[in-house]
Amino acid sequence: MSELAERFRANHARLLAARNRLHAAVAAGTATAAERKRLDTLTELLTPVKGTAIDADGKVVEVHRPRQFLELDPEGQGRAVEVLGDLDQARNVAVLVPGMGNSLDTFRGQSDRADLIRAEAGPGTVAIAWLDYASPQGLAAAASKQAALDGGPRLAAFLTELDELTDATTTLVGHSYGSDVVGQALLHGARADRVVLTGSPGIAKYVDEAADIVQPPTRLYVERAPGDYVSYSEWHGPDPATFPDAIRMATNGDDPVSVHWHNEYYRVNSEALRNIGRVVRGDLASITTTDTTRAQETKLAWGTMLNRAAGVAAKVYGGLAPPTQAARPPSAESAARTAGTRPGGAHRPRTSEGPRR
């Protein structure tokens, strides 16, 4: 049995043992509500995933296999690192790092989003949902950088381990607070071929350009949707969407699916999700970009209200993590430098992000 298969088997056994323990508590009438919920979660995590294969007659058939966990902690808040796809055959790997409010009991949604990225990036892609840090369980906790400072080195160590498991091209994808965890990992020496940050509250006071966290040939790709108050507030540092040497990807295109606010980057058929898929599979020439400033974005219908909300948020959290630098729109020079050095060559026209259609 390979090392990878042994890891999956061991975590499956860990899940089974935890489920049986909780099942016994429920049967004995001693289980709490939280334990009953955890039992449901563990039962779901033990349900095999489905896929397709071809049988001897050339027919498409349904196949089942156990879910693949590289890490699993069924106790307390719970943690899990799930591999979606065949890591031994992977050409591209996306590691998705979620944000606040997450636990093992919310893992269905994270796994689902990782699966969306995998579908968008295409054959040969493996997606990994990485929840191996103490995701903050509320806004007050999320105002602190502590969970990111603790989680970053763990993520860096995981990427080193991943490097030994596969030769695939690796893309780190961090959303919201998860983007801070990604940033801390990079500051702790994590290596990835590409990095995507969506809806980032910033990484650190002194991190105000991509070169502070990634070195060539690794590139930083950033998405900030119109009205994303989390990015605007810069709770943890300067907004990566303003880094002069980051590639700012468009979140809206010609399709009717629009992306606004903080939670829509991973919508089916959105330009935001498509661009993430393009990065993961290395189709960099097809990426669409934007250079809208916060001021342009907040001229939208909800802009004034959002500006106020961001201002309030900045004041509330200012004492904990004050931004030290005003947001900088990318200069023409930096935009040209970015375009000129983009792997894949072609530069598609920048897309203005308009109001909801």
Binding site: E44, V49, K50, G51, T52, I54, G58, K59, V60, V61, E62, L96, P98, G99, M100, G101, N102, S103, D105, T106, R108, G109, Q110, S111, D112, R113, D115, L116, A119, E120, G122, P123, G124, S135, Q137, H175, S176, Y177, G178, G199, V230, D255, P256, V257, H262, N263, E264, Y265, Y266, R267, V268, N269, R278, R281, D283, A285, S286
Partner: protein, 122 residues
């Protein structure tokens, strides 16, 4: 009562069967209600359901034709569907109807056609 999730599942299976009539489509993903904002805050409500159906013609895959056929099948069933220009061997169509959104993917490097849809949880 038929829910949007039931409708989405039935529509995906019907279109997949229309695109590759001699194969049995497979529902590969239907985990139940999820929180669309989970990557930001997992404590939110589960308000959408996502379903993926796979089919394909393993002996003679034609991703461009498959995606076009899927878009036509959706239109015939009352959906608004469009196909996108191919990107580096990636063929895609989108379809929408009554709050349901579907992405159709086919690839030059794989025989599979995937139909991924989202429905609100009623």
């Amino acid at each position: 009562m038929t829910t949007p999730r039931d409708t989405l599942r039935a529509e995906l299976l019907a279109v997949a069967a229309a695109v590759v009539p001699d194969q049995q489509p497979v529902v590969t993903h239907d985990p139940g209600p999820i929180n669309p904002g989970v990557l930001f805050d997992g404590r939110g409500a589960a308000t959408i359901a996502r379903i993926t159906v796979e089919t394909g013609n393993p002996t003679a895959p034609d991703p461009a034709a498959a995606v076009t056929a899927a878009a036509e099948a959706f239109r015939a069933r009352g959906w608004t569907a469009t196909t996108a220009p191919a990107e580096d061997g990636h063929y895609r169509a989108t379809a929408t109807r009554d709050g349901l959104d579907v992405a159709v993917h086919a690839w030059a490097t794989d025989w599979r056609i995937t139909l991924t849809g989202e429905a609100p949880v009623s």
